[in-house]
Each structure stands twice: as structure tokens, then as C-alpha cells.
Symmetry: C2
Amino acid sequence: MEQYKHFLQEKAALTPEEIESLTSSLQSKTFRKGEFLLHAGEVCAYAFFVEKGLLRSFTIDETGKEHIIQFGPENWFVTDRSSAYFSEPSDFSIEAIEDTTVVLIDAAFISRASAAYPHFMRFNEKALQNHIRQLQKRINLLLSATAEKRYLDFIRLYPDLTLRVPQWMIASYLGITPESLSRVRKELAKNNFKPH
Amino acid sequence: MEQYKHFLQEKAALTPEEIESLTSSLQSKTFRKGEFLLHAGEVCAYAFFVEKGLLRSFTIDETGKEHIIQFGPENWFVTDRSSAYFSEPSDFSIEAIEDTTVVLIDAAFISRASAAYPHFMRFNEKALQNHIRQLQKRINLLLSATAEKRYLDFIRLYPDLTLRVPQWMIASYLGITPESLSRVRKELAKNNFKPH
DNA sequence: CTGCCGCATTGATGTAGGATAAGAAATGCA
DNA sequence: TGCATTTCTTATCCTACATCAATGCGGCAG
């Protein structure tokens, strides 16, 4: 819970007292590596705030291939907003890539907190807007950039993930095969590119 | 303004009186085919609600290629939310594909309306959530579907646009070249596919 | 009517990345 | 520790789509 409290203090500009009173009702839960927090087809009841560990959300297409939507390291939210908001079955699955502790945030919490604290409401809306910005950016990349550029963008944005996530998952996030990613990396290495 | 009022009544469940009082402060404006409502680099001050006509929003990459983000026919909103919300210069341009009449909706209007009418606030949030759902869906398509599937999805979703929009713009939306789209269509025609 | 321009089509050729297969390296686990 | 499984790499071939270039053709300004 500590990370989440800290996060609220930073981003939502709430006082420690407000935070205590708000979060007293929240549960946290730990999942082992490989466990699922959400299976495709279920309604996503929570937003998961990652205290420690690493999640991924992904879809599976008709041909059985996985496509990673998002990684969730510490201090990130992972959820399927559409499913949670509209109470529809989710297309996503959410899985722990490492042993992961999350705070469970449900819709009732959000509305209670928004009603009680205008700061929280604004914080929440800002998170939505940020999410849109991210999605938009990703669409742009998928429309315009080569595999190599997308990979470079990825390691620029998530340098630590490059080390924590197996490459086939990064490939899946980028929309290419692991073999292609391997080639891209080889090419980059040849031109003496140093990721770290 | 009529379309917008109708839209509010349908989607936001406001009474005609509430709608009148709300919209009295709104301006509408008409743009000629080819005119720009927003140039990349400017801050996007409005959400444009399309009363009549057709808009497109698009980016231009480093190599000078356009990538269409969204089409906006009647009853759609076109804007760059990130730019509008964070008051940052936009990456998008917005252009009228046909002579187009829009209602100009600025941030002040949204907050006034949200404060005055809880229904409006919920309507607005729902629009945001819907937007996220759309973006997510598009990312999924770009990650997993071939040009043909993406095109089929497009005409299923926007059958009327297929007739109003030049094909090179559809190609740009799909992330392929006009030549490729032409070949996809040829292939579909051969297998006796009838769009309408 | 005519010449031009933007758009769509078609063909020839190039290329990024996919599919497949196999081996090497890393990791987990008994 | 050693065996098995997963992950990463490498090589070969293949395919979807891009690029380049030429042709056609409908609108429309003069």
C-alpha cells in the first residue's frame, strides 16, 4: 500500500490524513509469477495498482497469437477500462510476469473518492487523459514506424523493462516476431548501439 | 446546432430546457472543403462537434507522410484531447474534407456543464471511456490484422464513409499505400465481395 | 472542346519482416 | 548437480506490402 499512498500524495495532492481515510478500505493482494489477475471473458472488476512486481495485459487473436497491450511495473495501473466501466466481458487477460503485489481499486472506490475529494477527481481525469495520449502515441508509431524505430522507442520509454521482460514479450508488444526482434538487436549491435 | 442539441438529448439525458440554457453560449462555424480547423503545432482549443459535413484529423511524420487518425462525419467529435487538456501544441492537423459546419466546444463549456448537470458529467466521462475503447480496438487491429481485414473492418464500421472519402485517405487511415488498397479491393471484387 | 490535375488502377521489382527449422544459451527444477 | 524446458539466435526461404513508373479517366477551368 505504501507505493500507492505515496503516488496519491504526489499526483493527487492529497494530505496524509485524507489518504489514510481513503485507503483504509482498500485491499492489497499478492500474485505469484504466472498467476492470472484477469482471464479474457471475465468482467474486469478492478484497476490494479502495482506496488511491487510486474504485470502484463494481453489479448489472444483468432490464430492463437498473443498481443501484449501493456506492461505494468511499479506505480502503474493495469486494467481493462472498457470492461470495468461498461461491465462487459474483457478481451484482455492480465498476468503476473514476476511475483507481484497490487492494490485492488474498484469502481465504487473511485466514485467515493471523487465525490469526497475534488483533487482526486481531477487526478482521476488526468489519468484518463494521459491514457488516451499514450494510446494515441502508440497508434502513431504502429502506423508510421519500422520495427527498429518502435524498439528504440520502447527502450527509451521503458529502459528498465528491457531487462525484466523476456524478449518475446517485447516483440509481442511491438507487433513483431521474436526472430525479427533478434535481428533488429543484432543490427543495432553491429552499429555499436549500447542500450545500457 | 440542431444536431448537437439532439445528440445531448439522446446521450446525456438532458431536458430541452437544460439543453437550451447550456448551448446558448456556444458558437458554430462553417468551414469550406480543404480549410484547416487546426494546424499541427497549435494548441487545440476546441472539440469540434460535426453538425454537417466531414472532417479528418491527421499527423505528418518525419518523411512527410500523412497518417489519418480519425474521420469525423455528422455527430462525431473531432479534437486532440491531449493538446486541449494539457494545453500543449498538437501533433495533429484537422481539415474539412467537405464543406462542414461544426459546434465549437471549449474546456470552459465542459466544466461549466459538468458542474451544473451531473448527467452531463457522466455523459462526458462516458465519451472519454468510449474513446479509449476505440483506440484500444484500433491498436489491436494494427497489431494483429492484415490490410484486408483492416479494410473489411473499416467498411463494416463506416459504410457511408467508404463512399464519401477518397481511397487514398482510407489507405492512410489503415496504414497502407493507396496502391495496396487498390489491390486489396481488386482481390475482394474477384471473390465477389459486395460492399453495398 | 481541350488541356490539366488529382485520383485510381496496374505492372514490375524491391524489401521488411514472417514462417519454419535447428542449434545454442539460459533458466528452472528434481 | 544434471536434465528439461524455455528463451534467444541464426540461417533459409517466403509473403505481404512498399516503391516506382506508366496508363487511364473523370472533373473542371479556360
